[in-house]
């Protein structure tokens, strides 16, 4: 498939193999969850998803990125190719625009399936795109995904919040307590 501009590109996700000292779930669990998902989506496919492709034709990403196609992704789940999906880059390329879910005549939602697969990939230690670490650690460290930056104007001048008369960002308050609570709930989520 080519786009009108003829510049369909391949996925270029910069993957980070998470140094999961102890993956939150082991291979047996991944296999079990995969079977459950396959059965669930398989049944859904047999009776519901007709592979009509409305999701893919609506998807703004699959028009531009080779290797991302929500219809094929649902088919792969129903064929039990979960491991392939967890190892691949496609699940990280969805922009979560929800158009597939809106267009699906049968209420199958590739978006929701992708969210489940992302969570599974993360928890089972399959790796995730490197950039997300800044967000995960940023929130624990300062409450926001990024630090207040000095930004440049169109003419190249560097300006900070202070230069603009903006007060300092009002963060989570007692940062030590906030970080401890966030770390605690992350840990609780793993055990849960």
């Amino acid at each position: 498939m080519r786009t009108q501009a003829g510049e369909l590109v391949s996925l270029q996700v910069r993957r980070k193999r998470v140094k999961c000292l102890s993956p939150e779930i082991n291979e047996t669990e991944v296999r079990f969850i995969s079977r459950m998902l396959t059965r669930l989506v398989g049944e859904m496919n047999a009776t519901v998803c007709e592979q009509c492709g409305k999701c893919s034709s609506a998807c703004p990403v699959s028009k531009m990125i080779e290797g991302f196609n929500p219809r094929r992704l649902i088919a792969k789940v129903s064929l039990g190719k979960i491991d392939e999906l967890l190892r691949g880059d496609a699940i990280w390329t969805c922009t979560a625009c929800l158009k597939c879910r809106e267009r699906c005549p049968e209420d199958v939602s590739p978006y929701d399936v992708i969210l489940i697969l992302r969570n599974l990939a993360y928890r089972a230690g399959y790796g995730y795109p490197a950039g997300y670490d800044d967000f995960i650690e940023g929130v624990i460290g300062r409450g926001f995904i990024s630090e207040p930056q000095a930004v440049r104007t169109r003419d190249g001048w560097k300006v900070s919040r202070g230069d603009l008369g903006l007060p300092e960002v009002s963060g989570p308050g007692d940062m030590a307590q906030f970080s401890a609570v966030v770390k605690g709930i992350i840990k609780a989520g793993r055990q849960g």
Binding site: E7, R14, I65, T95, K99, Y122, V139
Partner: protein, 285 residues
């Protein structure tokens, strides 16, 4: 009309044009924006995939802070708005999840009882202030401008959550037209800006955005209006990032900046010096 003001991460830390112009214009329309002391990220980008319960906790924590102020939330961000709505919905349906979140909230002496609502700036302007009052605030009508609007996915999807706009979004268009400009449909208007690819996919993150910008340019329009800091960053700041490509040079302006121009506010106070796209083509027309 007083709200707990939740700009979201991007507007506070780097997209100062979105923040400055919102403060400048919403104040002139009589809205009181109370700073939410103690607020943090809503959890959507940071924890939704890695630790869903942490996402639920962070969103509930911010909603609880506003609840303690006795106020509804006004957010500038489509994504934060979706995040708060999804979490409010999930907590109302899942008592076990609610108990776990409550337990974590208690450590900081907070509680969340779902007594307040979250509103996006577009619905406050359109539904509460009203198009007429917005129009009455105009000093310099933006006549002759033909603009594309980019409502952004999470202003209207998913429809079952009671989003700020309807499935065929029209509120941003009405608000732009209230300033004297014309809005024109273009192919792909309701498509995503691609912002969620900003982090995971360095190489091709601009493909989705550029498709949209090219459509605006090929439709012969003067520029595109955004209402979410993530969409704004994707379409404005990132548009010339990929090396060796043709420069698209499509003016991108945030709605509150456009509103400020029509109100006669100086470009500096609206943060227009930070738009990377050639936005001066819009205000020098």
């Amino acid at each position: 009309m007083k709200y707990a003001f939740y700009p979201g991460c991007l507007a506070q830390t780097e997209q100062f044009g979105c923040l400055l112009s919102a403060k400048e214009t919403l104040g002139r329309l009589g809205l009181e924006l109370e700073t939410m002391d103690g607020s943090s990220c809503c959890g959507y980008r940071s924890y939704r995939f890695s630790s869903p319960i942490t996402w639920h906790f962070l969103a509930a924590r911010n909603m609880a802070l506003a609840e303690r102020m006795g106020l509804d939330i006004l957010t500038l961000c489509n994504e934060c708005n979706l995040s708060f709505k999804q979490v409010k919905d999930a907590l109302s349906k899942d008592p076990q999840l609610k108990r776990n979140v409550d337990e974590a909230l208690r450590v900081e002496g907070l509680e969340y009882n779902a007594r307040n609502e979250t509103y996006h700036v577009v619905e406050v302007l359109h539904d509460e202030i009203g198009v007429k009052r917005v129009s009455d605030s105009v000093e310099n009508p933006l006549e002759g401008l033909r603009l594309a609007t980019h409502p952004g996915c999470h202003l209207f999807r998913p429809k079952e959550l009671g989003m700020p706009d309807e499935a065929e979004p029209h509120k941003l268009d009405a608000l732009v037209e209230a300033l004297g400009a014309e809005t024109v449909d273009y192919p792909g208007k309701l498509d995503c800006c691609g912002s969620s690819m900003y982090t995971p996919d360095e190489g091709s993150k601009l493909k989705v955005a550029r498709r949209k910008l090219r459509s605006v340019r090929e439709s012969g329009l003067d520029g595109v209006v955004t209402v979410c800091p993530h969409c704004f960053r994707m379409l404005d700041t990132a548009q010339d990032e990929s090396p060796g490509r043709e420069r698209l040079r499509v003016p991108v302006i945030h709605y509150t900046q456009l509103l400020g121009l029509a109100m006669g506010v100086s470009t500096t106070r609206l943060g227009l010096q930070f738009n990377v796209s050639p936005v001066e083509q819009i205000y020098r027309l």
